[in-house]
């Protein structure tokens, strides 16, 4: 509250380092922009501008599924204080539903829609048969966490049991490529990336400008306060699950199509980076998750210019650690911390 910030402000002589850190804390996005520009400059001079541009493009491709995965995860956490470890399996499930629908003879585009819708339906059903009943019984937070972790395993191995543990073709043409301004991108990759960016824009616009979006953000901030302003919280929780699941399904499909193959580990390999995106953006903040997803995606791809690509997941976490050291509440988390 005001008293405590008063005490902080009276720190008599901040050293130059502390002063620098405080500037970064106050203008996190500007500071981040400067850091990104400096890293880009260094990479561009060292590795060449064309390579940097290519890595950036790859980063945006990856950032798409991180961002779409992260926004659902962060909304569910914000609304229900539930760390949904099974979120990665929603991605896997979406990709497999695409393959299943495709195998039934539906065209790929229709199959993708089926994948998104069925995953949204799965998320909804889990709320009704699992999460709502355990919440009503006032199961503790640790138990919920373990329940989510357990659910992740159950889903992963159920998918593996039904569809087989081996790689399956996702059905898209992954050989055709396009060259734009000298940058290579797979044709499928280009299409799904544009779809992903459109989805991200839609989510951001929906959260900002629709009544439903504002209610979801209100719930993500405080469910009790939302209830006392008359919001039908049960309904918004259901909608949030559907959106979270649908976007996760879409993220899985966006990952699977250009990759050409899918296996039951798909979501598990991505979930840690998605968590990093959520935390970097500020837990519970949907815009933060979108930005965090892009940031993690680009950081990971840039890192492949100088280190072994198999280490790129660690780079995502290096970004996470750096952001948290300077801003424990994440990039967009400013306002939330003031309240309590």
């Amino acid at each position: 509250m005001s008293e405590s910030s008063y005490a902080l402000d009276t720190d008599p002589r901040p050293g130059p380092l502390a002063a620098g850190v405080s500037v970064v804390r106050r203008h996190p996005l500007a500071a981040l922009g400067v850091v990104i520009a400096l890293v880009a400059l260094w990479l561009g001079i060292r590795e060449g501008w064309h390579e940097l541009a290519q890595a950036t493009l790859n980063g945006i491709v990856a950032g798409n599924y991180f961002a779409l995965g992260a926004v659902g995860l962060t909304l569910i956490f914000g609304v229900l204080r539930l760390v949904n470890f099974a979120h990665g399996e929603f991605l896997t499930f979406g990709a497999y539903m695409l393959i299943a629908a495709n195998a039934l003879g539906l065209p790929l585009v229709v199959s993708a829609v089926v994948g998104v819708v069925v995953t949204a339906g799965l998320a909804l059903s889990l709320e009704v048969v699992l999460w709502r009943p355990v919440r009503r019984k006032r199961v503790g937070e640790l138990q919920l966490l373990l329940l989510a972790l357990g659910l992740a395993y159950v889903m992963r191995y159920t998918i593996s049991f039904v569809a087989g543990p081996e790689d399956r073709a996702s059905g898209a043409d992954v050989t055709a490529g396009v060259t734009i301004l000298g940058l290579r991108i797979g044709r499928t990759e280009l299409i799904v990336t544009l779809v992903g960016l459109a989805a991200i824009a839609l989510v951001a616009i929906g959260l900002r400008y629709t009544s439903l979006g504002r209610q979801m953000r209100a719930l993500a901030d405080s469910i009790e306060l939302s209830e006392t302003t008359g919001i039908d919280t049960d309904r918004i929780v259901l909608v949030t699950w559907a959106i979270s699941g649908g976007l996760a399904g879409l993220a899985g499909i966006i990952y699977a199509l250009p990759a050409g193959t899918v296996n039951p580990q798909l979501g598990f390999t991505l979930i840690l980076s998605i968590f990093a995106a959520v935390v970097v953006g500020g837990i519970g903040n949907a815009y933060g998750a979108l930005a965090g997803g892009m940031l993690i995606g680009v950081a990971q791809e840039w890192s492949t210019l100088v280190i072994n690509p198999s280490m790129k997941v660690a780079v995502g976490f290096a970004v996470l650690i750096l952001v948290l050291l300077v801003r424990p509440q994440g990039l967009f988390g400013r306002a939330r911390s003031v309240e309590r």
Binding site: M1, S2, S211, R214, Q215, R217, A218, D221, S222, E224, L225, S226, E227, T228, T229, G230, I231, D232, T233, N285, F332, R334, A335, R336, S337, V338, E339
Partner: protein
């Protein structure tokens, strides 16, 4: 207003007993707020003030007893329904949606209202708090305590409530802002909104209230006209009796 006898009070707690698990929090609570009245509910820490509010809002359900809004039994009905019946709250610590703008916070108070009425509600709130218009695109979490109070109050008024609940409006505010807050409370009440103010600060709330109740360890130990309570020596005793 009503021609045949007393109209049903806006709010009535009738023999309410509320428990948290095995712990008996509210014991046989009886409380009324009439049309246009300004009533305060006084009590120290852990006297059951917050639980009373939560029971009124339906955030907790009483084990026995009845909560009525304008004569209608709402004991088993959800919070959202009660809000639709004309209840609104300015929560403790002026809780706002921190990551949302002032404008969005106000909108959250009014989203139950038809869109056509929104403009009118905004004008009413901006007339009462001109500063909020200037600050409308600022994030609520970045406001000062006094400004947050205005947003919380504005948000509650956006729903055009018949009865406004205020949870410790004086808490954590500088004395000058407390005075200003209570002026606004009085102003809103004079515009016809009934109020139930839950407070620790007995003097300032009784000075503007019509009637008051004093809660101590979950029981209403005193009630009466505000002027009588102000003069009552037992008040201090009951009050400090935890």
């Amino acid at each position: 207003m009503s021609t045949n006898g007393d109209p049903a009070p806006l709010l009535e707690l009738d023999g309410v007993n509320t428990y948290y698990g095995q712990i008996h929090i509210l014991e046989d609570s009886n409380l009324k707020v009439g049309e246009g009245e300004l009533v305060c509910l006084l009590g120290g820490n852990a006297s059951g003030k917050s639980t009373t509010l939560k029971t009124i809002l339906g955030l907790v359900r009483p084990r026995t007893g009845v909560v009525r809004l304008a004569g209608e039994d709402v004991t088993g009905l959800p919070t959202a329904y009660r809000i639709r019946r004309g209840l609104a709250i300015v929560p403790e610590n002026r809780r706002l949606f921190g990551p949302m703008t002032v404008l969005e916070n106000l909108e959250m108070g009014a989203y139950l209202r038809p869109r056509a009425d929104l403009k009118e509600e905004f004008e009413r709130v901006y007339t009462l708090f001109p500063l909020l218009y200037e600050r409308r695109s600022q994030l609520a979490g970045t406001l000062s305590g006094g400004e947050q109070q205005m947003v919380a109050m504005g948000r509650a008024l956006m729903s055009k409530p018949k009865l406004l609940l205020m949870d410790e409006p004086s808490m954590g505010l500088a004395p000058i802002l407390v005075e200003r807050s209570f002026e606004i409370i009085q102003q809103v009440n004079q515009a016809g909104v009934a109020m139930l103010i839950v407070e620790q600060n007995a003097n300032v709330s009784l000075s503007i209230a019509d009637r008051g109740y004093v809660l101590s360890t979950g029981r209403i130990v005193l009630e009466g006209r505000a002027a009588e309570l102000l003069a009552n020596e037992g008040l201090r005793k009951a009050y400090l009796g935890r």
